[in-house]
């Protein structure tokens, strides 16, 4: 403890005194200038097509630019958040350039065919005006995804452990798994929609099924692959069969289980969207379909962006959970 504080203590001192870079962040000023430049371009050039919310878009870009400029001046006060901001510097500079290019190609010169390509202010307009519907769709999708995924993951985990552990379970479940597992869950769609009382429960089942297969197979392979010497050691130390399953097989298989959970999550996303496009009258998949039906392409892109953020956040959450549980592992991938 004392050694680490002794090591840490001099660092801020030399950083503040010796390196002026810590006081002022030149890259941040550049990024701020790029955002303000993009804001000016959006505000001052006339629109070639009829779009709303141009002022709001310009104002937002301008505000981001001002915040970045202030942030780069106040760098010493920001601490750890400042360090993260600095790492994002190049991205924060390129993003306003991309925004400007997109703005020029759509709203300002109408180079891309209408109405298939939306302008930045078109997207902003959707978020500002249609957020109740978009928000509700997101919540519905999340609920369907989470209930289905958790059910499927739990069932898959139990099935995988049972397959890896018990010969009797293996005898009966393995052939079923081999025949039905590889079938895409979406192939069950027509059956599911008349077997289940509601389209919601049918979709939950399909999401669960899509998750179940990879989680089962990888948990099973993880449990079967456990070093047999681990069991010998535990048995000579007086372990019961329950202890061997819960305290040896399961923790040893956990890295594989997480691969299964990750693959299951990906599969559950695609089933979710298909189910919502074909049967469920809610959710982001339904919203996409609805927007396309009305040729509301800006809404479509807006929903796609929300969906990307949602899926990515869920994967991040899964990886965070893994990093916490598998802290004992070396060299795991950072998401």
């Amino acid at each position: 403890m004392s050694a680490s504080t002794a090591l840490n203590a001099p660092l801020p001192a030399t950083g503040a005194a010796g390196r002026p870079a810590a006081r002022l962040w030149a890259g941040g000023l550049l990024a701020g200038a790029a955002w303000i430049g993009a804001a000016l371009l959006i505000a001052l050039l006339p629109d070639a097509i009829e779009v709303g919310r141009t002022t709001e878009l310009a104002a937002s870009a301008g505000l981001i630019g001002l915040a970045l400029a202030l942030g780069s001046l106040a760098m010493p006060l920001l601490g750890a958040a400042g360090a993260r901001l600095r790492r994002a510097g190049p991205w924060l500079t390129v993003l306003p350039l991309a925004l400007a290019a997109w703005e020029l190609a759509t709203a300002k010169f109408a180079l891309l065919p209408l109405p298939f390509f939306a302008s930045p202010q078109g997207l902003l307009e959707v978020y500002l005006e249609d957020w109740p519907r978009l928000g509700e769709s997101t919540l519905r999708s999340l609920w369907l995804l989470l209930t289905g995924y958790l059910l499927g993951a739990a069932a898959g985990f139990v099935a995988g452990v049972a397959l890896g552990w018990s010969r009797a379970v293996g005898y009966w479940v393995h052939p079923v798994l081999r025949l039905l597992g590889p079938l895409p869950a979406t192939a069950w769609l027509p059956v599911a929609f008349f077997v289940f009382p509601t389209s919601g429960s049918a979709s939950t089942f399909l999401v669960a099924l899509a998750t179940w297969f990879p989680v089962t197979v990888l948990t099973w392979s993880g449990v079967s692959g456990v070093n047999k010497a681990y069991y010998d050691i535990a048995r000579t130390l007086g372990a019961s069969p329950t202890f061997l399953v819960l305290k040896v097989a399961v923790p040893a298989a956990l890295p594989q289980v997480f691969v299964g959970l990750f693959m299951g999550l990906g599969a559950s996303f695609s089933v979710l969207v298909v189910a919502e496009m074909l049967g469920v009258k809610a959710g982001l998949g339904w919203y996409l379909q609805w927007a396309q039906g009305w040729a509301a392409y800006a809404n479509m892109y807006a929903a796609l962006l929300v969906m990307a953020v949602m899926c990515s956040s869920l994967v991040t959450l899964l990886f965070k959970g893994r990093d916490r549980l598998l802290a004992w592992q070396k060299g795991t991938v950072r998401w």
Partner: protein, 260 residues
């Protein structure tokens, strides 16, 4: 302090009796004999080395004694009772430390206590065992952070925490570098002297057998049968260049069919 505590709790060593044991593996319908008519006794508290070429079946003998496998023929007795299943009074230490990578040093050492539901009442014994093998301060480390020698010490502590009466050592120092190996040989002897347990050490290192054991039983190639026995009547600590040991070494190599 620690040695006193261990001596106070450890029962005397276990008497080992192996009577006419033969064993074969079933390899896809073909029987592969690995042990052939082994008769071997060890007195309580004795340190016996089983010396022979690699893969001759010595490790199988230890698995039978641990109760992990049953012999095809013959009887394996501990204190006169047949050994039919594993028991914490008989512990195995492998060539690989086989620590659980997801457990810290302390949790690995406490494995036996936890498996028998003794963790709450006797958790302090894990710390005692860690101190005994000289790993105080590494309780919270994970196995991947340890060197080979340290990992093997953890494996020893994990075995010692059960107060075993019979310690089965399957080439426990086989994968260590030569310096660590020499240091650990001395520690093994000290642990055995302190605890009074019976120790059976499988090794293919003639010098290691002569440095540690009171009696060296020499095995021929597979299927293993006993080809000779040497009594090492020298107190510990022993010296490598002791003329008596050098003479025994020549004898052992001759029995193994090698002219030293």
């Amino acid at each position: 302090m620690v040695s006193v505590a261990l001596q106070a709790t450890a029962a005397a060593g276990m008497a080992v009796d192996i009577r006419g044991v033969s064993h074969a593996f079933d390899l896809e319908g073909r029987l592969l004999p690995v042990l052939d008519g082994i008769d071997l006794q060890a007195a309580p508290g004795e340190f016996v080395a089983l010396l022979g070429p690699s893969g001759c079946g010595k490790s199988t003998l230890l698995r039978l004694l641990a109760g992990l496998d049953q012999p095809s023929e013959g009887a394996v007795l501990g204190d006169g009772a047949p050994i039919t299943r594993p028991d914490p009074s008989r512990v195995l230490v492998f060539q690989d430390p086989t620590l659980y990578p997801w457990r810290t040093v302390r949790a690995n050492v406490a494995l036996g206590l936890e498996a028998r539901g003794l963790l709450k009442r006797q958790g302090h014994r894990a710390q005692q065992a860690i101190d005994t093998v000289g790993l105080t301060g590494f309780e919270q480390a994970y196995p991947h952070q340890l060197s080979g020698g340290m990992a093997q010490r953890v494996a020893l502590a994990r075995a010692l925490v059960n107060d075993p009466r019979l310690m089965l050592l399957d080439e426990p120092l086989g994968k260590l570098d030569s310096l660590t190996r020499l240091a650990m040989q001395g520690e093994l002897v000290r642990l055995w002297q302190r605890s009074g347990m019976t120790a059976l050490l499988v090794t293919h290192d003639v010098e290691e057998a002569l440095m540690l054991a009171q009696r060296v039983v020499i095995f021929g190639p597979r299927p293993a049968r006993i080809v000779g026995e040497l009594v090492v009547d020298r107190p510990h600590p022993r010296h490598r260049d002791d003329p008596h040991l050098i003479a025994l070494r020549r004898e052992a190599l001759a029995l193994l069919g090698l002219s030293g």
